[in-house]
């Protein structure tokens, strides 16, 4: 017998000797016990499909709550606020006014369906890698949903600022900028907008202003924003008279764009002492889009824009005071 034969014979002999023979009864009891406790299910009080439907509805509700919980508004919800005192008329064409967008129920519905499908795949997948990938994708939907529809998606950034024409004699103030206007003349508000989110934002323009009935005493008395302009590619920046009507543009994450809000000062605007106090504009409502969903953002200006007004310019309609003015009338005095 060769060494190889003896080696193989010894190895086989060793393995045969390690064979314990018939299975002991204790093993069968142990295995059966574990299987029965593992396979025990709680009483099914409802049908399997009803349970799945309930889980699916709960998952859809989670998606909708996360996305809708962000405070946001659609263009049709925007209205003039007391602090801005915007009395508006129908603007002319091509002045950077965004169309009224539809509420994004279709997008929410699609996101919810995709989320449900991913959850189902995650629980039903046989391969762990597929299950983990589906879970990660479902979590990503929640994360993206929490990032869009944010009211602070756009903010005033570094760039142009100020008003035109400014009141030269006005004392320097960090918190306001006064417009020099006599009557219902054009004025401009210069500001820069930055995309503060991690996703691209498509800026569509100024919110479509509400239209008052003609002949309203407030229609032409007070300042109103009528359009949005800009300097594409930075050409001829930054004289407001040389800005062109705004067209929708995409801002990458962190990118900024210089803009000009165009308005009319109102019949009550005066370059003299403001006997009627100040009409103020402290925010500009813009429409933007992220992932096909439209939103509005009231861009809070760095400086409050003030237009001095006078009394007796119409039927005695006073500028709508802000709530802060009523608490501290001296704060609005020049």
């Amino acid at each position: 017998m060769t060494n190889a034969d003896r080696f193989e014979e010894d190895l086989r002999d060793l393995l045969v000797r390690r064979d314990p023979g018939p299975v002991p009864a204790s093993l069968e009891l142990k295995v059966v016990g574990r299987l029965r406790s593992a396979s025990a299910r709680p009483p099914v009080l409802i049908g399997a499909w009803a349970g799945r439907l309930g889980a699916g509805l709960a998952a859809a509700a989670v998606v909708l709550v996360v996305v809708l919980a962000q405070p946001h508004g659609f263009a049709s919800d925007v209205a003039a606020t007391p602090s801005s005192s915007l009395a508006v008329t129908a603007p002319g064409p091509g002045e950077g006014i965004a169309d009224n967008p539809m509420a994004p129920w279709i997008q929410f519905g699609i996101a919810a369906l995709v989320f449900l499908a991913l959850l189902r795949l995650a629980f039903r997948a046989e391969r762990r890698a597929v299950s983990l990938a589906a879970f990660a994708a479902a979590i990503a939907i929640i994360w993206v949903g929490s990032m869009v529809a944010r009211p602070d998606a756009l903010a005033v950034g570094s760039g142009v600022s100020g008003v035109s024409p400014p009141v030269d004699s006005a004392p320097a103030g960090d918190d306001h900028a006064d417009v020099a206007a006599e009557g219902d003349v054009t004025f401009y508000i210069l500001f820069a907008v930055t995309n503060t989110t991690a996703l691209p934002v498509r800026l569509h323009g100024l919110v479509a202003p509400p239209i008052f009935a003609s002949g309203s005493p407030s229609e032409l008395d007070y300042p109103r924003l009528l359009g949005l302009r800009w300097w594409p590619d930075g050409e001829n920046c930054c004289l407001p008279e040389q800005a062109v009507p705004f067209t929708p543009t995409t801002l990458a994450a962190g990118a900024s764009v210089d803009l000009v809000a165009v308005g009319k000062a109102g019949a009550c605007a005066t370059s003299q002492a403001p006997s009627g106090g100040y009409a103020t504009i402290d925010e500009v409502p813009l429409v933007y889009e992220q992932l096909t969903i439209f939103y509005t953002a009231a861009i809070q200006l760095d400086q409050e824009v003030r237009i001095p007004t006078r009394t007796g310019c119409s039927a005695g309609v006073e500028p709508t005071p802000r709530a802060s003015d009523l608490r501290n009338p001296e704060a609005s005095a020049p």
Partner: protein, 186 residues
């Protein structure tokens, strides 16, 4: 069809093997003896083998959906048993066991001592093998599986199975030589 039947249909449709728990239990019972003997030979301990088979049965129940063909239950369960044994060997911290084997045949005193010594050396060397080597040697020299069947059992390519078997054999021989060299030094 009453409510219980409707639920039973729902339960059955959840399993690819279409096995309610009792049927699955019956299948596992039928494979207990070969699984137990295989685990004992691999692990070298009846107690460890008992735990390994119970764990394999539990693991099989939890992964029952991965069995696409019910006719291959025996091979599928055997693979799970092998995987459980491998996992156990990797975490074990065992000292080499000394098996004193008594030959049934009457031999001379010198032949008897040589046989005992040789088998003892082989037993210790076998215990020192890595888990994958030990498993492939058991499948080849105890179950007498051809290399192709070993490859199927371990879910590896045939070439890998051949290579692993060759290296396992060589490593066992090397362990034996080292053990004999240590014994000669004493």
């Amino acid at each position: 069809m009453d409510h219980a039947d409707w639920l039973r249909v729902g339960l059955v449709r959840q399993d690819r093997v279409s096995d309610p728990p009792t049927a699955f239990e019956a299948r596992v019972r039928g494979e207990l003896e070969p699984a137990w003997r295989l685990a004992s030979v691999i692990l070298g301990s009846a107690l460890d083998a008992e735990d390994a088979v119970a764990e394999a049965a539990l693991r099989a129940w939890r992964n029952r959906r991965s069995l696409r063909d019910g006719d291959r239950f025996a091979a599928w369960f055997g693979r799970i048993v092998v995987n459980v044994c491998r996992d156990r060997l990797r975490v074990q911290r065992r000292l080499p066991r000394i098996d004193v084997l008594i030959d049934d045949e009457i031999r001379t005193a010198d032949d008897f001592r040589d046989d005992v010594h040789r088998r003892d050396t082989l037993g210790r060397a076998f215990e020192l093998l890595p888990p994958d080597d030990r498993i492939v040697l058991v499948l080849r020299f105890w179950l007498d599986l051809p290399v192709e069947s070993i490859a199927t059992q371990l879910d590896i390519p045939v070439g890998t199975a051949k290579s692993r078997l060759h290296h396992a054999t060589q490593r066992l021989r090397a362990e034996i030589r080292e053990s004999e060299a240590r014994d000669d030094e004493r």
